[in-house]
Symmetry: C2
Subunit: 249 residues, 2 copies
């Protein structure tokens, strides 16, 4: 895919890339797309030179050692600042994701150095738009996962997670199913959208690689793809654990 610029039609870019690869979308396909290209296409870029840091941002900059203008954007994008130490700000993004810098990222943003990319305004809506755009252009609506890379408590290293979903249930419930020996499994849910994001991130590499989208074929069954059509729980919000249920806040 070419470099994405503000105002680009992402569905058209993906459709053109698929044509170039000789690939036709099929029902049950999952398209995982890096949030960075979604943010860029949606114009979610901010030039730090135009940001005026508030006193709270100055204080956050003092505690973290980060640019006060970046801190101002982190505060604007967050519901809460959860942890701060030199070099690290863990925030609860206004959409509920817990991640470093409220998901604001500097790398791979075109233009002068101090331009940063915010997360898409509503990544589930971005996923739905891309899905609908691909449907209009190809006649097939793939499931879409918008992915980011998040660090985690307890474990080192970031992994791909889904921040926007359309046409796919992000949680697969296993409760009530029988295991190999006929026992009913204890209640357990698998975060398949996050696992898809992790699998795709292996192929994207980190942002330097320039692979902004991965097509996953053969995993999602057609009947599940159809069931998820327009379903309110086919959205990344279903992956957020309500703070009152969370034992680690």
């Amino acid at each position: 895919m070419p470099r994405v610029r503000p105002g680009d039609d992402l569905a058209e870019l993906v459709a053109a890339a698929l044509r170039q690869l000789g690939l036709q979308l099929q029902l049950g396909d999952v398209l995982v797309v890096a949030h960075k290209v979604v943010s860029k296409a949606e114009g979610r870029l901010v030039d730090l030179r135009e940001v005026r840091p508030s006193p709270q941002a100055q204080e956050l900059a003092r505690r973290s050692g980060k640019d006060p203008r970046l801190c101002e954007l982190i505060l604007q994008e967050s519901r809460a600042i959860l942890r701060v130490r030199p070099g690290l700000i863990v925030a609860e993004h206004r959409l509920g994701f817990v991640c470093a810098n409220a998901g604001i990222d500097r790398s791979n943003v075109a233009g002068a150095e101090p331009v940063v990319a915010l997360l898409p305004e509503d990544p589930d809506a971005s996923a739905r738009r891309l899905r609908y755009g691909l449907y209009c252009k190809t006649g097939v609506a793939p499931a879409v996962v918008v992915c980011d890379s998040h660090g985690r408590p307890f474990r080192r290293g970031a992994v791909g997670v889904s921040i926007g979903v359309a046409g796919l249930f992000p949680l697969l419930s296993e409760s009530g199913r029988e295991d190999l020996y006929g026992y009913v499994l204890q209640h357990t849910e698998e975060a398949v959208a996050d696992e898809l994001a992790s699998a795709a991130t292996l192929l994207m590499g980190q942002s330097a690689e320039g692979v902004p989208a991965v097509l996953v074929r053969g995993l999602l069954e057609v009947r599940d793809a159809v069931r998820a059509w327009g379903h309110p729980e086919a959205a990344a919000g279903a992956l957020l654990r309500p703070p009152e249920e969370d034992l680690f806040r």
Copy 2:
């Protein structure tokens, strides 16, 4: 693969399954294997009828609503109990993993109902043994990832993670690399072994599916496979964040 029993030679079972599929191992292949079959082959099964719960286990059972004998095993397998609420015990396993029930699992264990599977004694050693066994039988040593499914703070649903690794660096460092536009990326590490575990878990399904191993081909470059050979950081322990570095304990 057939059902695995205590004392089985896992390398032989995997090699036989590969022969049956007409697959020959190649340098750079990664074999992801569910910890459950590793635990079974290593005989890490405990019949709850033979467990005597201590007073601490009785107390943990009272707080969690779980079987006191299971609680006794959780205490034996843990360094610390981090959180308890009805239906949930989050423990720090003696190897450092933070997970529900210290990784002890009831589903898919053959025999009478009250038999549970503990995690392998040393999953990195299990991964090395399986790798070496496959090398002896096939002439090629694949990287091996032993995976489990863990819940997480902040996000709903469990995802595949690696608890044992051999022949692969579980963390891929991106620091110092340039992005598409020539900026040097901020320091970031990708937990590739966990992403491999998540990708494989999508194909294994949860334990009910009976797919205990997944072969990943074409991802790991041969020079990386060779570099990781016998390297002390090619182990799952590298993924554990030391508690003093963790902002969420």
